[in-house]
Assembly symmetry: C2
Homo-oligomer: 361 residues x 2
Amino acid sequence: MARVPMGEVQPSEPSPEASEIPGELAERIRRRGGRATIYDIAELAGVSPSTVSRALSKPGRISAKTEARIRDAASRLSFRINPMARALPTGRSQTLALLVADITNPVVFGIVRGAEHEAARAGYTLVVAESQESGETEAETTSRLMPSVDGIILASTRLSDDAIRLTAARTPVVLINRAVSEVDSVLPDVEKGVAELLNHLHALGHRSIVYLAGPQISWVSGRRWESLLDSSEALGMAIVEIGPTTPTIDGGRGALRRVLASKSTAAVAFNDLIAIGLMQAAARQGVEIPGELSVAGFDNVFGSELMCPSVTTVGSELEQAGRRAVRVLLARLGGDDVEDASELLDTELIVRESTGPPRDV
Amino acid sequence: MARVPMGEVQPSEPSPEASEIPGELAERIRRRGGRATIYDIAELAGVSPSTVSRALSKPGRISAKTEARIRDAASRLSFRINPMARALPTGRSQTLALLVADITNPVVFGIVRGAEHEAARAGYTLVVAESQESGETEAETTSRLMPSVDGIILASTRLSDDAIRLTAARTPVVLINRAVSEVDSVLPDVEKGVAELLNHLHALGHRSIVYLAGPQISWVSGRRWESLLDSSEALGMAIVEIGPTTPTIDGGRGALRRVLASKSTAAVAFNDLIAIGLMQAAARQGVEIPGELSVAGFDNVFGSELMCPSVTTVGSELEQAGRRAVRVLLARLGGDDVEDASELLDTELIVRESTGPPRDV
DNA sequence: TTGTAGGCGTTATCAA
DNA sequence: TTGATAACGCCTACAA
């Protein structure tokens, strides 16, 4: 805080004790837009640029005194390392990409938040991009992003297994909600939640179920169907799959007729959005829920609780999925062992108002 | 598609007609991880690297024939420019940052989507980060991101005017939902929507209103309050402001008691989330909505329509806000005139079920 | 522990 | 129109 009066010191002779920056240096930095480089620090601290580089990037491999002097100089110049300049020799941008099918789908909020926080915690930056449910857009976006990120997280990807393996061969990839051999993935324990759901429906008295599938290309939709099939067989319930459906509220709205046509007493939708749409259409047509039709969804999305009746759903740990995907990616990048990559994320049934006993039982 | 049989041509002599790559070159590229550089293209096309650079970055300033040859070579090597390498001399990363207070707040979905699409359309990458409603985190994130982006969009920022001006002085900044002199911003036409809302409430018979404010630091909350004040004065209605409240469902839940204590017949919440929380708390306490209390929110967030009763709200063009913020930023970067930056985004009242005539009128 | 020198892939300046 | 050549800011052998 003590300011040295101008002119009392020779500005040309930098004195490490004074909190003042030689005019010439200051001028040079100013002209450069205020951004100091390691050369400036080196000059101010009276060492070589490489020493500065070492001090800043791998602390400890340098004499404590020198390091302190360098840190001091760096902060006096409010130095911020230039990520691009660092990325050039290292090939590392400290950036991760997260690709989602639809940014406005509430399912991704949790994933994005978890991933962003975990990335920031590790000093990484997260780029979020949207494929709009299109494999083509996704492929394009992926290859556009690839050169500038160190790794990619594919959430609910619409790519083919081969396409995924191909990009995984060029850059580290972690999948969320999709399994492909040889590629890391973060998966929910679908079986558990589905079993809970079907037990619930069975206990209510339902014996026939219709599964309203998501997009044809959706791997999760397939998984959920398989699980439902297993569970319903075990319980001796009838089940049919109809679809595919766009995984949006609109998609759900358009599917009511086919659902009713199945004469099932309960409908399980691929996700909450579809379930909500289905319920809205039902309300409009005077179909009582859950009296005439029980409805359940997946994901425990924001809004499923607000809906009336509120939506019974199989929730999973979205935020956790995002966090773990980043951790797995960083572990790969660091050459570390990939943690519990194969461990499934917990999943659980959340019973709300959209499921109840079938009227005619 | 016609493949030249191996060995029929001298691999050392690249022939532009053949779709084949000299072994030595291919080998070098392979060793580098498959990523070709402009040097590789230069070699393959028989020109100098600088010519390649020109051909690829500013098409037209080169002979058509040479350019074609270069493009051909580039695609044969499936060349992708290295963004970091380009960023070094130009100082441009082709990346924009979008800072939001809370990623899981549905208000931001639209903004993020609009911004992401507009950015992608212009060949830019969008980085999304969250400040978690904290000015400190926001300042830190901003300065962390600053060196690696060409511009920053601050949506619902929690920074002080001075802090904003300071960062705007170092890097292009566009504000969404916040006005600060000398800084570009994208703003909604608050007055219009608020006037519509108060006219609606007045017509229903309400004469006393309570405004449940958002965070103290929220500029929008202040703007909304000012507007409400203006409109209610004009209509001769009583109005009081209470708060501040966390702009979440939980925040709204906790505010019911104070709202009821005001004895107003209608509550206007800072945003839909607060309105929803308020309504949930009311339902739990048996307070009938809209019979005993009318409730309205802002933003027309996903979920406000699902809630029951569904929420009357003042909606604004979120996606449009994101798009325009990016456009303004890019215009600044390009030195172009900033378009309709001062033009306000439309805002409109969406009447739903949470507002109705007060019971005792 | 520190400094020297060369390279990362691109753009930009200046000649040719 | 094209080609050398020198940045851009940092990292990293290698040498001292």
